[in-house]
């Protein structure tokens, strides 16, 4: 089973990201569970979402994830204000939205596997909005192969309707640009 924590701020779409991957995984015949950890809901406040995907077995556990295999960070500022990285498993991977270079980010968060992409620039360029979740979908898939890129297309269409095309484009561009080392 792969356990993922998604750190973002209200309005960035972290909860939606978890839900979209859960839908895609279930469409692939896997078992999945997405679970938000809402604080008082407001735009800009730190928001945490959890995601579990299991290829073969029904997911029974229904608790927060303390030691994730994967960490998705939608707002790199959260790395400064909170203890985001410490729970990550030793062989886990952090997937971070950043405008810094891969090496700079690596030096900042320490050892371990890392995937970086400038999701903000992709989102602003394609969507015209600072909403990075769909770009980070591409980064997450590049880093983990948790689901196939194509499996996200239907869930994105269901969720976003007319603007799905641009979100799919953002996801694919981020998939191409993500650096994993």
């Amino acid at each position: 089973m792969m356990e993922i924590c998604i750190y973002g701020r209200g309005g960035q779409g972290g909860v939606t990201l978890a839900e979209l991957v859960a839908h895609a995984a279930i469409r692939e015949g896997k078992h999945a569970q997405s679970m938000p950890a809402f604080g008082p809901e407001r735009r800009g406040a730190p928001v945490l979402a959890f995601l579990r995907v299991n290829e073969t077995e029904r997911i029974k556990i229904r608790t927060e994830i303390a030691e994730p295999d994967v960490l998705v960070v939608l707002d790199p500022g959260l790395l400064q204000v909170g203890d985001v990285v410490s729970g990550l498993k030793k062989d886990g991977i952090a997937v971070v939205n950043t405008k810094k270079s891969h090496d700079e980010m690596k030096a900042e968060i320490g050892a371990g596997r890392l995937a970086t992409v400038n999701a903000m620039s992709i989102a602003k360029g394609i969507l015209g909005l600072p909403i990075v979740n769909t770009a980070m979908l591409g980064a997450l898939i590049k880093a983990t192969e948790i689901v196939k890129l194509e499996s996200l297309e239907e869930p994105l269409k269901e969720r976003f309707g007319k603007v799905a095309t641009k979100n799919i484009e953002a996801m694919k561009k981020a998939y191409e640009e993500t650096v994993v080392r």
Partner: protein, 390 residues
């Protein structure tokens, strides 16, 4: 057996699907976290023509239940849902459909009560509803939330029942979780739910008074009659769950056991923590402890017989309450003790309170409870609140 298709659905949406499939006539509800997605989805279904029902917008939960009472008396198939403070505001009206024998169906997205203000899950709201005279059951995952909502309509509306029924789902843990579940075809659900005809529906041609005064010369008789009728709903609940199982392949029981065959220690839980508790049981079994798990599926009418049967070989029963009755302890534990008092003098029952206001109960938490209970009777307190920072 038609099994339906596997889908990813949020618990709230699964419930909305159930309400759509049983073709409810009237929905009246007021949105409150964490129940909101259920009402939003139902309102959307009605607006989009997916469900032909009347949505009565109200200004409070008190009015929501009042509207449900009126609509149910008129013979409509009625649904509502609420949570936490909303159920508290609805409280005085909740006794009306049960005493008037109106089969309203409701879902409660279980939430802590203020203060401090909390929108997160526990069973404080449920425990304030123990005496309302509704049939009440607990779901532990989204599949069960869907299944039990379907069953609630059929049970409540059965002419031999005619009591309101409430399905409890844990707020956020089910209401906001998307997971895989089986969604049956509309036709299969439609076949399972008979056409509804309330035998005493308001009719201008045959005027009657409903909800009359009960002066002292008749109140006791009315309550006795209500209680006798309520207790006799059990066979219909069992029959409905049996038929549901035969149709959909998933069977439910008032008390459900996990690895209890040779267990000398049993954990007892209600609601969404059940499956996490199973994992804890699995781990403790590997450590050589003879632990099993009992989940109360049916909360009202209380399953005395099934509980006594489930614990007959148990030496230590560890009860987890997700609510605190101030000055008393865990409400479930005290009910379990009362159900087993004078039946099992050789069994120790130890109560813990945890998971208040959205605090997680982990596998380690369950292990702690069992280990701590094994130390009993050295524990002096009547109960212990677990996982509290000092």
């Amino acid at each position: 057996m038609k099994k339906g298709k596997i889908v990813g659905l949020e618990g709230s949406f699964a419930i909305a699907e159930a309400v759509r499939m049983v073709n409810a006539d009237v929905i009246s509800a007021y949105p409150i976290t964490p129940q909101t997605h259920i009402v939003e989805r139902l309102a959307e279904m009605i607006a989009d023509g997916e469900l032909d029902a009347e949505f009565i917008c109200v200004e409070s939960e008190h009015s929501a239940m009042s509207a449900c009472v009126g609509a149910s008396a008129a013979g409509a198939r009625v649904f509502t849902c609420s949570a936490g403070q909303g159920l508290e505001l609805m409280h005085e009206v909740l006794y009306i459909p049960s005493s008037m024998r109106l089969p309203v169906v409701a879902v409660a997205a279980n939430r802590a009560l203020s203060g401090p203000l909390s929108v997160w899950c526990d069973h404080s709201d449920v425990m304030a509803l123990r005496d309302i005279g509704w049939i009440q059951m607990f779901a532990e995952n989204n599949q069960q939330a869907f299944d039990l909502t379907i069953c609630a309509f059929r049970i409540a509306e059965d002419k031999e029942v005619l009591f309101p029924a409430m399905v409890h789902i844990d707020g956020f843990y089910l209401s906001h979780v998307i997971e895989d579940m089986v969604l049956p075809d509309d036709e299969v659900v439609a076949d399972f739910i008979p056409e509804y005809e309330y035998p005493f529906a308001l009719d201008p041609e045959r005027p009657v008074s409903m909800g009359c005064y009960g002066p002292p010369f008749i109140y006791s008789e009315a309550k006795k009659a209500q209680e006798v009728a309520f207790e006799s709903t059990k066979p219909k609940i069992l029959e409905t769950w049996e038929e549901f199982g035969d149709t959909f392949g998933r069977y439910y029981a008032p008390v459900e056991s996990y690895k209890m065959e040779d267990a000398s220690i049993a954990l007892l839980t209600m609601g969404s923590i059940g499956e996490t508790a199973m994992l804890a049981v699995d781990e403790m079994r590997e450590e050589g402890k003879g632990v099993g798990l009992i989940r109360l599926r049916l909360w009202r009418p209380f399953p005395f017989t099934e509980l006594r049967e489930a614990v007959k070989d148990v030496e230590l029963l560890v009860v987890l309450d997700r609510a605190l009755s101030s000055g008393m302890g865990g409400p479930v534990c005290s009910e379990v003790k009362s159900a087993l008092y004078d039946k099992r003098e050789d069994m120790r029952i130890v109560g813990f309170i945890g998971g208040l206001g959205g605090r997680d109960i982990t596998i380690e938490g369950f292990k702690y409870m069992v280990n701590r209970a094994l130390e009993y009777p050295e524990i002096e307190e009547e109960f212990e609140i677990i996982g509290v920072r000092e």
